[in-house]
Amino acid sequence: MNDQELRDEIEKMSNKLIAIEQPLRNRYFLSCESQNAHDVCRFLFEDVRARFVIATAIDSDDCYEILYHFAYDELGTIIHIKAHIRDRENPSIESIAPFLPGAEWIEREIHDVMGIVFVNHPRLERLILADDWPDGVYPLRKEAKR
């Protein structure tokens, strides 16, 4: 696949995406709503055969953002998918771990530090926080600091 074909592949999903940005030849930023993220990731992993790198959760202005970072190694391209979770009270998103076991840990971790619930996660238990860490305190949420 060359760069153009990759772009085409990505554009196949444009109905699920809010925006596609390509600041550099090999960097893509795709934004989508949380309910579409699972499908987009699945498409990238199974059809485009991109490699999952990691996910990042950000407590953003008015929403939680989850960034899924995928790499398309053939072209050295990194594709970031920004999923916006607008519900700040009960943030939740569909888990991608069932088809991508490599994402199991990071989702658990995000659950730990951000309190985002991953629906259908095989095992949403505490991963990186201490056993005696109080429930309901999410250190990476900005409220936690106040």
Partner: protein
């Protein structure tokens, strides 16, 4: 026959000689066979991500080099590349060469370290001792170049802190020659030892499918036939301009991982030689004034695999969000695919084979400029010890 409900479990860790770090593998066993594995990595969680957001961009490299001491060149480099991507900075070429060389030196020492530890884990003390002996000169070189044996802190946004001084270069080349000879010998010795074959071949196999599913990286992936290497796929520093090979193996067992690592060491020596030859003169720093708002990512092929950093900036001089993913974070969960069904002893070496270091499965750190401020000197140490001994003696 009644089937017992109890599932015996062997705890490996958190304080276990297999690991240099705190992590907890819970091996459920049946006889000597591992039937399940659970990993707990909370021990090393230092809350780095959260603290990192309170740090200046320029301080973060020192911090991320302490995510883990072994990849202490790769993490900062990946971070710095991410920031450079945001600010659209291109460091001078010489700096890129310096980064390449330091990263490859790191790869060499890390791979040798692993080979030694692997020997240690399977009770082959001689390999351990010899490998670590060969590693020492590399550390000395690093110390001479950067000022520290580990945690070099040599990358800065926009270049490098320390240049490789010309008078070091001949010494570097000489040590590399010596090292190459020794590594050749070690590689041959390891690859030909029948007992090592018996101990490592066919052990802890991670199939290609599993490797893709668990999204593993680095030698772990390359040993399973997944030919990914950031240095080639998305060339950073000067890797694009140098001539070297990506080592892959198909078997996915511990032996394949060993082979990959040992051969990569030799490749690394090759890379350094070329880089030293091609390195142009010039400065190693560009001026960096502000970091505009934006986001960017950088990834680097650390000894254990791809190190990935994502940074978001708001235009201030601190990152808004900094995510770091170290290779072990994806390599470790693959134990579920490679360890189950192995003998306990094999499981141990399989755990060791991805060269996990948990420090990095928990990422991001804060830099505190007063790192060394409160440390007691030897005088203090002596005094404290004396006092305590007095007390003990009274207690006896």
């Amino acid at each position: 026959m009644k089937i017992s409900m109890r599932k015996p479990v062997i705890p490996v860790g958190p304080v276990h000689p297999l690991q240099e770090e705190m992590e907890y593998f819970q091996l459920t066993i049946d006889g000597e066979i591992v039937t399940d594995i659970d990993v707990n990595i909370a021990y090393n969680h230092r809350g780095i991500e959260e603290i990192s957001e309170t740090l200046q961009f320029d301080q973060v490299p020192f911090l991320v080099s302490r995510i883990c001491g072994i990849c202490s060149a790769s993490h900062p480099l990946a971070y710095v590349q991410a920031v450079e991507e945001i600010a659209n900075i291109t460091p001078p070429e010489r700096a890129l060469y310096v980064r390449t060389i330091i990263n490859e030196l790191e790869r060499i020492h890390s791979h040798i370290l692993w080979a030694g530890l692997a020997g240690h884990f399977i009770g082959y003390e001689t390999v351990f001792m010899w490998a670590w002996k060969y590693r020492e000169p590399v550390l000395d070189l690093l110390e001479e170049i950067t000022g520290n044996r580990n945690n070099y802190g040599n990358v800065k946004i926009g270049g490098c802190r320390e240049d490789i001084k010309p008078d070091i270069i001949p010494k570097l080349l000489k040590e590399l020659d010596l090292l190459e000879k020794k590594m050749d010998m070690l590689t041959k010795a390891v690859l030909d030892d029948p007992i090592l074959h018996a101990r490592l071949k066919g052990v802890g196999i991670l199939t290609k499918e599993d490797a893709i599913k668990y999204a593993v990286a680095g030698p772990t992936a390359r040993a399973s036939g997944v030919p990914i290497d950031v240095r080639r796929d998305d060339p950073y520093a000067m890797y694009g301009a140098l001539d070297w090979n990506v080592i892959t193996q198909e078997e996915g067992d511990v032996f394949a991982k060993t082979v990959v690592r040992l051969l990569e060491t030799l490749e690394a020596i090759k890379i350094i030689r070329q880089a030293l030859k091609k390195m142009p003169d010039g400065p190693v720093m560009t001026e960096v004034k502000d970091i505009p708002p934006g986001e960017g990512c950088g990834h680097v092929e650390a000894p254990r695999g791809e190190t990935f950093h994502y940074v978001r900036s708001d235009g201030g001089n601190r990152p808004v969000r900094h995510k770091a993913r170290a290779p072990s974070y994806v390599n470790v969960p693959s134990f579920k695919a490679s360890c189950i069904g192995e003998e306990v002893s094999d499981a141990m070496i399989t755990l060791a084979a991805v060269d996990p270091c948990y420090s990095c499965t928990e990422r991001m750190a804060v830099l505190d400029s007063q790192t060394n401020a409160l440390i007691c000197g030897f005088e203090e140490l002596l005094r404290l010890s004396r006092e305590k001994t007095e007390r003990i003696r009274k207690g006896i």
